[in-house]
Amino acid sequence: MAGDAELVRRCLDGERAAWDELVEQYSRYVYAIAHQGYRLRGPDAEDAFQEVFLRVYDRLGSLRDPEALRPWIAQLTRRVCLDRLAAAGRDEPSDLEPTGVEQTMEDLDEAFAVREALGELPEECQEVLDRFFCRDESYRTIGEELGIPSGTIASRISRCLGKLRERFEGRNEPPGGSGEVKA
């Protein structure tokens, strides 16, 4: 997976495939913020989703630190969601931020970072971790499906988790950019 800075550069160079990649990479993240963080549903969530990527398209050139693409998109999404809530009739700004939204954002950021780190692992590790942790498959099922000898699955999962941890910790040190846009 290319880094965000490279992705931003390609988008700003006008590469159509890069825009597709950006949307693909961040669509679930944006939708999750709208849905889980701000509890937008149905057409409201869809409209917010469209509006976020329109703003990304219009304003990507204002992003100061291309490595801070994710926090920048998160901030855009939050503003769009607040606009939707305001348009729905609640006009007191202090009422707009749903309870627990900060914790939801932290959880989503962590989940997204883990997912990114997972994408950098060897294919066999991605597969075995996805099957165990996301699909709740048993050791036996995983072994049979992937042709891995019985009795080695638990060990293999722990080895892959070790690799994931290395990737994840590598991503998080030293701290990245601020995510701020130009004033």
């Binding site: 165990f132 048993s138 036996r140 099922t141 060990s155 722990s158 988790l161």
Partner: protein
């Protein structure tokens, strides 16, 4: 049809296996000098979480099946099927706890080995109990694939429990 959850043998077995999995996680975390200990602890914790959820599902499925049986309702077969599927999943997951426990028992600090082995034995008992629930289900025949799978999981559970008990013996 709605009914209050009933905490029967499937619920109790899932809870016991969940406790066993948490014990395995604790032993792994307490083991020094094993690079994969954290990964194994994470697996055991995931198994415990899964078993907690299965305990809740079993209580609901069991209650729904009993209610359907008493009322001779039209969805009786569906309810009974569900009441067999959840214990089967508990059996499989408990067998995985046994395997994880064996892995830990063979590598953990000696003073903690008995705890890992004990966890395997507990989870193995849970696997036996829930496989029996699959067998006892009214819609499960002796050659039903679910029963075959449950008994195979019990074999796995026993195999890994023996490994855990033999570790360091």
């Amino acid at each position: 049809m709605s009914s209050s959850p009933i905490q029967g043998a499937g619920f109790a077995a899932a809870q016991a296996a969940a406790d066993a999995a948490r014990l395995v996680a604790t032993v792994a975390r307490e083991t020094d000098g094993w690079p994969r200990a954290a990964g194994v602890a994470a697996q055991a914790t995931a198994l415990a979480d899964r078993l907690d959820e299965l305990a809740r599902e079993d209580a609901e499925a069991f209650a729904a099946a009993l209610a359907a049986l008493e009322a001779s309702s039209g969805d009786l077969t569906i309810r009974m099927d569900r009441a067999a599927e959840v214990p089967l999943e508990i059996t499989r997951t408990a067998a995985d706890v046994c395997e994880t426990a064996a892995l830990v028992a063979e590598r953990c600090d000696g003073v903690l080995r008995a705890d890992a082995a004990g966890a395997a034995a507990l989870a193995s008992g849970a696997a036996v109990a829930t496989a029996h629930l699959v067998r006892a289900n009214l819609v499960v025949s002796p050659d039903d694939p679910r029963l075959v799978q449950a008994l195979r999981a019990v074999d796995d559970a026993r195999f890994w429990t023996k490994r855990a008990l033999d570790a360091g013996a």
